[in-house]
Amino acid sequence: MALSGGLSEPALAGAFRDEWGRIVAALIHQFGDWDLAEDCAQEAFALASQRWPAEGAPARPGAWLFTVARNRAIDRLRRAATYQAKLKAVASTAMTETGDGGAGEGAPPDESGVPDERLRLIFTCCHPALAMEARVALTLRALAGLTTAEIARAFLVPEATMAKRLVRAKHKIQSAGIPYRVPPAAALAERAAGVLAVLYLLFNEGYSASAGEGLVRRDLCDQAVRLATVLVGLMPGLAEAKGLLALMLFHRARQAARVDAKGDLVRLEDQDRSLWDRAAVEEANRYLAEARKLGDVGPYQLQAAIAGCHASAPTAEATDWRSIARLYRQLADMAASPVVELNRAVAVAMADGPAQGLALMDELASTGALDGYYLLPAARADMLRRLGRLPEAAAAYREALALVATEPERRFLAARLTEVDPRF
């Protein structure tokens, strides 16, 4: 039953988006059984889809759904005659969880009427002892309520493969003893970084999906933004969560301008800036400012600040490249990577001129760290072209063309090559 896709009633669709994760999280906390939690949450929504259109949505939809789901769960456990055993298991889990000093212990029910245990669920889904692909799938299933079929379509694998992946991950959580809790303070920073990595991957999967691919795949961006917003709400002191949310919102603001009528990617400097979503940019700026205020500068906040520089420039020419170059420098100091170095070299070239940029790129090329990566010769070619060193530029474009993977990028490089070498 594809509930998340099949809800026509707006109240129901809204409740699904807002309440699914809460209900599943609270049920797992109470009963310690993932499949039971998902099945009973699903049944509660199915009942809502029968009742609400005729009777109207209840005043507190979350509380209604949670009560139905919890009663179903208790009913099933009774019928399975394992009620006592399960209760015992739940009691012993609760005992081992006391006094670990973690945040979010015993969160009281808020106005929605559902105790918010989503932070436990987030940390459990994103536990490092699970494979990355399993973390992503579990997060989408348990927190966002995507069906196995939808997750399979989003990650371009057969449904059976995805089902197996989910079963295996849930089995490991139970039998290897992955705890259902927010990690204690000593491990919190490291584990929170792991959660952010899952959300970032989710966003990038959606962002890199082409227009021709299924909607569910592009919808991953929205899911990532939604989940990051939840995380920001649950961990307001975590600067990098706000940094990541700002980064996602800046990128999403440009989505309409990223692809042209032919479906080709449009480079940042060529994008029609009137298509950028100003409201999303404003929102991103607010989260970025909040992250800055928290002071704990991390890679996501820096990347968001770079995206913010681009977003605030009225034209490509007005871009504050000097600030961008400085931010890339900071980013390279924090998380050294040759791709970051290449981006820094491009920013330096824009700020100080192609000669300075070329010097940094040549240095990078001599390390061999980016051998085989077409963007390095492509960027070098661009520097050489602007310096008027056309034969060298042509050679570098040819080098890049030999490495490029996708057709639109090949077309772009070939066009540039004809500019510097008309015989081509």
């Binding site: 490092p128 295996r168 039998s175 992955i178």
Partner: protein
């Protein structure tokens, strides 16, 4: 301490502890299902080894997909899903035997039903711990097998020498977390036992030619996997090798 087992005689040979690592070949196991006969054969093996005073403890382990590896590189904790090495035959359980010599341990191994659907690696313990069984974990604790493995991709010149393990053992024994454990004799001294068509095939060396090799093991009782990861992370070999943490099989019979 357990009295000296009568089958060792009264003098001369001191008993030696051996770890029998049961490994199962997925294909062979699928072709030769775990039927009533196999269950009976296993039960009879366990009864015999216990009645002869040879079997100290043993258990089936959770599947390879429930394994987690832990290492520390450049000061950072690295946690990964899966076993320490991808091998055709997968570690499925263990028994700890006390025998007069390697020959006897190999003989017991060849009678174990797992030898027919995989292999049994026999490794001597470097251990002077008393012969004793292993009590059940305390309520609220889960039991894990931690395999201490070498990692040849670590360049020993880049690192400090491996710190002595004794402070870790002392701490974890004191916490009630470590219930048993030992270094193992080097892999070259291992024997691997397989039974095919009724014939025992005994080869020198470990069950698989992997870069990484098991160098020791510890049995841990922890509240959850996070505690097991923390305990593994503190082991001196976390910086030089790989620690695989795997839950014991959770059911009495299956």
């Amino acid at each position: 301490m357990r009295p000296r087992p009568p089958w060792l005689g009264t003098e001369g040979v001191a008993p030696v502890q051996y770890l029998l690592v049961h490994v199962v070949d997925g294909e062979l196991a699928a072709a030769k299902p775990w039927d009533e006969a196999a269950k009976a054969s296993l039960a009879s093996w366990v009864d015999q080894t216990i009645s002869r005073g040879a079997n100290l403890h043993g258990s089936r382990l959770g599947p390879e997909s429930d394994a987690t590896t832990v290492k520390v590189r450049r000061g950072e904790l690295v946690v990964t899903d899966g076993p320490f090495a991808e091998t055709k035959e997968q570690v499925a359980g263990y028994d700890l035997l006390e025998c007069s010599d390697l020959e006897e341990a190999v003989e017991w191994a060849s009678r174990h039903p797992t030898a027919q659907i995989g292999a049994i690696e026999v490794r001597q313990l470097y251990n002077d711990q008393p012969s004793a069984g292993l009590p059940e974990p305390a309520p609220g604790k889960r039991r894990y097998m931690m395999l201490v493995c070498t990692d040849p991709s670590v360049d020993p010149d880049e690192l400090e020498p491996v710190a002595p393990v004794e402070p870790w053992v002392e701490e974890m024994d004191g916490r009630g977390t470590r219930r048993f454990g030992s270094q193992l004799a080097e892999p070259a001294l291992a024997r691997s036992v397989r039974v095919r068509d009724g014939h025992a095939l005994v080869t020198d060396g470990p069950f698989a030619e992997t870069k990484e090799q098991v160098a020791g093991f510890d049995i841990l009782d922890c509240a959850d996997l996070d505690e097991a990861i923390e305990v593994a992370q503190k082991h001196p070999m976390a910086r030089h090798g790989i620690l695989e943490v795997r839950p014991f099989w959770p059911f009495q019979e299956d």
